[in-house]
């Protein structure tokens, strides 16, 4: 017995059915790849507690609103942007966490550098995907978030400049140490 809301294959089938309407086999195949990644991250976000179905419902509703009634190319573009958005979110979470660890003294410079370099490689790869987006608004929004992650990865590598949000954290941490 599967839960039609949180079972991965059932959810993927549901999303594919609505998002690939009218697509050529080639476009539909590309869309399926994107949707597979998207749905995997939805399920990660939803977790396994009692609120998981409500989280999936909300994500599905937002997704449907983003693709409904759009022509094929715009639908693919919208889903691609969502997939990249989620990759960048994950990268930003990791770079911010690493930056905070460095500031808190929880990781040495020697340990931070290779972790920063690994994250930077991922950031570089995503940057080229973001640049390929046709939607200037999505490019700008995702680009900003990617810059933030990039400055944090760079801080882990070089130990000098950082993102603005990490600077806020560092200021708060310093104030807390003083008090």
């Amino acid at each position: 017995m599967t839960n039609p809301t949180t079972d991965r294959q059932a959810l993927l089938d549901r999303v594919i059915a609505s998002a690939t309407i009218g697509m050529s086999p080639g476009d539909a195949a590309r869309m399926r790849e994107l949707l597979d990644e998207l749905v995997r991250d939805w399920l990660r976000e939803a977790g396994t507690d009692g609120d998981a179905p409500a989280v999936i419902d909300l994500l599905y509703k937002d997704f449907d609103a983003a693709v409904a009634g759009k022509p094929v190319a715009a639908r693919i573009e919208a889903v691609r942007a969502q997939v990249l958005d989620r990759r960048i979110r994950r990268l930003g979470v990791q770079t911010f966490a690493l930056g905070k660890q460095i500031i808190d003294g929880g990781v040495s410079r020697g340990e931070a550098r290779p972790r920063g370099e690994a994250l930077m490689k991922e950031i570089d790869a995503v940057a080229s995907d973001v640049r390929a987006l046709a939607d200037a608004g999505a490019r700008a929004r995702l680009g900003r978030d990617l810059q933030e992650a990039g400055m944090e990865a760079l801080y882990a590598i070089e130990g000098k400049a950082m993102s603005l949000r990490l600077n806020h954290y560092a200021s708060d941490a310093q104030a807390s140490r003083v008090s």
């Binding site: 940057a127 200037a136 608004g137 400049a161």
Partner: protein
């Protein structure tokens, strides 16, 4: 077409020295670009001059293996934030915030520098110009341009990328109560900062794009559970987030404050909103 990206930046009245900078500033922007190509930062929301557009780059000549070619310019404007005249001066931003929140506390400016494109590049390269992460080798190929960075406790902001709300937003961060961000976390803080920014700008008859729509949406969901804007402003500017935010969520919402904060820090906006739904009896 100018290059810009929405982000929160600041005003400055001091210019950073540029000795040793490897920037390619020409006329406040940067020189060679592949016209019509695409950059990550080409939505326009600031209203600053086209001359302050993108950085320079030689297409394909990056200093790092695997770094993509640069593309600058050519994309359409997304929002005409220039309709309100571009970034506010530090003095104007402070006045706008003082008018809106002066009854809570006296607003201060904090350590921020708003730099013209060329000076911004020089400030960046003063730090990284001799490395593989210099402006020309890393910033341009990867992003096209940068909104801002921080070093030595100071926020350096690229004026060419700033909009009307940038300076007030960053200035607000500097005025948050000492317990605010440590309690609510970075993401709830960004959303709340933008809520306060929009309140102040509206009161001054100004407009600006929302810089953090996902985070704002979560804060609005929080407010919809019965917290007034005044309570939010009090927690943000004077303190008491543990009670005004934390205890309220624990008592009123489907999830605990810890659930909400964790979801927001993970940038799981849908999960955060579900946890912020009012508790059913």
């Amino acid at each position: 077409m100018r290059s810009s990206v929405e982000g929160e930046m600041n005003e400055v009245d001091r210019r950073k020295g540029a000795e040793g900078a490897a920037g390619t500033a020409a006329g406040g922007a940067g020189g060679q670009v592949a016209v019509g190509k695409r950059t990550l930062v080409d939505s326009a929301q600031t209203g600053t001059s086209p001359a302050a557009a993108g950085p320079s780059a030689e297409v394909g000549k990056t200093g790092r293996a695997g770094a993509p070619d640069v593309d600058v310019g050519g994309a359409p404007h997304v929002e005409g934030a220039g309709s309100t005249g571009g970034p506010l001066t530090k003095e104007k931003a402070k006045q706008v915030l003082q008018d809106a929140f002066g009854t809570y506390k006296t607003m201060s400016e904090g350590k921020v520098e708003l730099l013209e494109q060329a000076d911004f590049q020089k400030a960046y390269d003063k730090i990284y110009g001799s490395t593989d992460y210099s402006w020309a080798k890393w910033v341009v190929p990867t992003y096209g341009n940068l909104n801002g960075f921080a070093e030595g406790g100071t926020n350096y902001i690229n004026k060419a990328m700033a909009n009307t709300g940038t300076v007030p937003h960053e200035m607000l961060h500097n005025n948050a109560a000492s317990d605010w961000t440590p309690f609510v976390g970075s993401q709830f803080d960004e959303g709340s900062t933008d809520v306060l920014k929009q309140f102040a700008l509206k009161k001054a008859g100004l407009t600006s794009p929302n810089s953090y729509p996902d985070q704002i949406s979560c804060v609005e969901t929080f407010l919809a559970t019965g917290v007034t804007q005044e309570q939010l402003f009090t927690a943000y500017l004077k303190g008491g987030a543990d009670k005004i935010v934390g205890e309220h969520v624990d008592k009123t919402c489907a999830g605990s404050w810890s659930d909400v904060k964790n979801a927001m820090e993970a940038k799981d906006w849908a999960r955060a909103k579900v946890k912020l739904a009012k508790k059913t009896k």
